[in-house]
Symmetry: none
Subunit: 208 residues, 4 copies
DNA sequence: AATGAATGAGACTTCATTCAT
DNA sequence: CATGAATGAAGTCTCATTCAT
């Protein structure tokens, strides 16, 4: 029995090693330019071994995406559940997005580069949209904030677009080193702008 | 002389046809998965002909990018120059972004997909960053609005991130048909949110 | 009529220009690596024009070879005819070979590189062997020297091999600059060796 | 362990099979006209397999050349070392040249065709001149014969030119079947001519 | 007669995938 | 289970040749 557990672990470990390697390699070179051998080498296994765990290159991409998104999302959900105030949960979400993704830079590039893949891919895999799940969660947080009266009656989906689109963009700028920026600082500034809007605050307004 | 003009036109036309085809094909399949023959077929020419106008596949990508960005940006700048109020210019910018890019849907995907290409590409072409130019322009509009007191004293770069990141994201969602949405409507909602923030408007606030 | 002559000349001139360009370009890059456009450019004409004078690339090669060999051979024959002594004619031949070919370096490389072309070529063109004509002439000179008793009774073909093979080799070494050598000097040394052999000459022997 | 040896052998065998195929195919069609697939087919492997053993087509050419020349030269040197008399060594050299190369006919054409490649190639690979090594060895044999007084005081390099150039030429004529000849017979005749020169032997001379 | 833009066949090379060991 | 040599399909790019002007 112990042997069986060991094997199970081995198998799981190797699978995970391949997935981790795939995320980094796909992010670094893009899905099409990355080679299976690059992934295998990074995972310290032989090229053919990848095919013992994944049907083909595309399967590896899909599974890597799913794991990435859902593992991050699960982590985020767990932490957020500790916040009581719905507005705080929304703000916390922004910070967590930055925190979790900036911890492993390649995950960001992997997500933003690959999730909007080719038409071909999405037409062949219409059911596959891991990012949708993420976006839906942010939308639900917005809806909640609206329902509890924490924020005004605005379209929760639109707000989700702003949050996810902006942070996605900021992280990409940061990760490609196109310009020097501190994602945490920007996240905070974004939060401020979203809270009060761009209008010049009336002297008597702010009460945060 | 007419002959000369004709030839000139022919040559320019073909170059443009290839560039247009390239934008669509690169956007549809992604740069690496798109083939030169796909581009040639879409442009109604033979595969080898592409190489009479462009040095190689990468040259075609770079030139296509440059033309796309700079032609859109020039159009936007021209229209915006007619707006006098600096806040109006910023709002107009959002609408124009949607308008111009949604007119040629593939341009959007082309930009957002290819602009954040592989490390490899950007490390080999560090000087090449047409998107930066775009972002810089939006930043300058924000700065202007701040300087003229139209909006509060916030970080203009951050605001530019929000505007470009959000609209980029929205357009991508729209173009990949991941979900049904009206980009104009969303643009307007984004504008509203940015104006007042997400806080519940006080009864005495403006009633736009 | 003058017009006709003019045209005739024009046509002949352009044909010659192309042939000359072909010899140089073929010699420089080898037949297969040379391009028709290289030849055309060197001849200051457009690429398509070559096909008004030659059926195709291979035809250009054959005609260039024939002209090269036969024009050199004709020149050699004419000069040699002035020599009366048959041994002198043979020695003169060696010098002329060097002289004529070293005058236009590319002709040498063209000949030695291209005349032993691919099996394919010779199997398709069995009648084509311009070098054979050259070798035959040298052989006839040897035969003559034997018949007149100028040299011993040896195989004239073998002697021709030695003469042509050696000088061909020497010129190639010279032209490829593989090593510094004076082809005239070598030609003279070859003549000496052929005259007396490599044996240590007996004191009483030489009477040249 | 046996397994390891087996693999080693397999790998070496395949590399050799490709090299042998390359020599024949390059010789038959010339380097530029030969295709990698021709080589692969002759070696009974798939086209892509060539690239597991050689970086590219040019690498295959260079390695093939080096192996050809050095393996022949090593064989020749070994056999020649058994001859004591320096003149015999020189004569033996001529015979060995014919013997070794006529055993694998394509090697000859390969050498003589490719060795004097295009300017381009040699300018890019100035250090590469395997034939030089061969010529140097023949020269050293000549020098030795001179030093030991076996032959007269003549330029050893010139004599090497005659030997290598002539036999190279003869073998090429033979291999291209341009004319029917027995290379061994010709080699012997060449030896005779070199020994005594072309002069009519005096009645009292030696009777070899 | 001359041009040179256009064509498209074919070469080199890469790499996802398989399979014997 | 793991390996990595082998495969061969497919992509980029070149260039001989044609043809409308």
């Amino acid at each position: 029995m112990k042997r069986h557990v060991k094997r199970q672990t081995d198998k799981t470990d190797k699978r995970r090693a391949i997935l981790d390697a795939a995320v980094e390699v796909f992010a670094r070179h893009g899905f099409s330019d990355a080679t299976i051998n690059d992934v295998a080498e990074k995972a310290n296994i032989a090229g053919g071994t990848v095919y013992l765990y994944f049907k083909n290159k595309e399967d590896l991409l899909i599974q890597a995406m799913n794991e990435i998104i859902s593992s991050r999302l699960a982590e985020i959900k767990k932490i957020i559940s500790h916040e009581i105030n719905s507005l705080d949960r929304l703000y916390k979400m922004i910070l967590l997005h930055v925190e979790l993704f900036s911890r492993n830079p390649y995950v960001v590039k992997f997500m933003v580069s690959e999730w909007r893949q080719s038409d071909d891919f999405y037409q062949l895999n219409p059911e596959f949209n891991p990012f949708r799940e993420y976006l839906d969660y942010v939308t639900s947080l917005c809806q909640e904030a609206i329902d509890t009266g924490s924020i005004g009656k605005l379209n929760p989906r639109t707000l989700a677009y702003i949050i996810v689109g902006t942070m996605d963009f900021v992280l990409t700028q940061w990760i490609t080193k196109c310009e020097p920026l501190d994602p945490y600082l920007v996240a905070d500034e974004v939060r401020q702008i979203l809270r009060h809007g761009v209008h010049i605050p009336k002297p008597e307004a702010d009460g945060s």
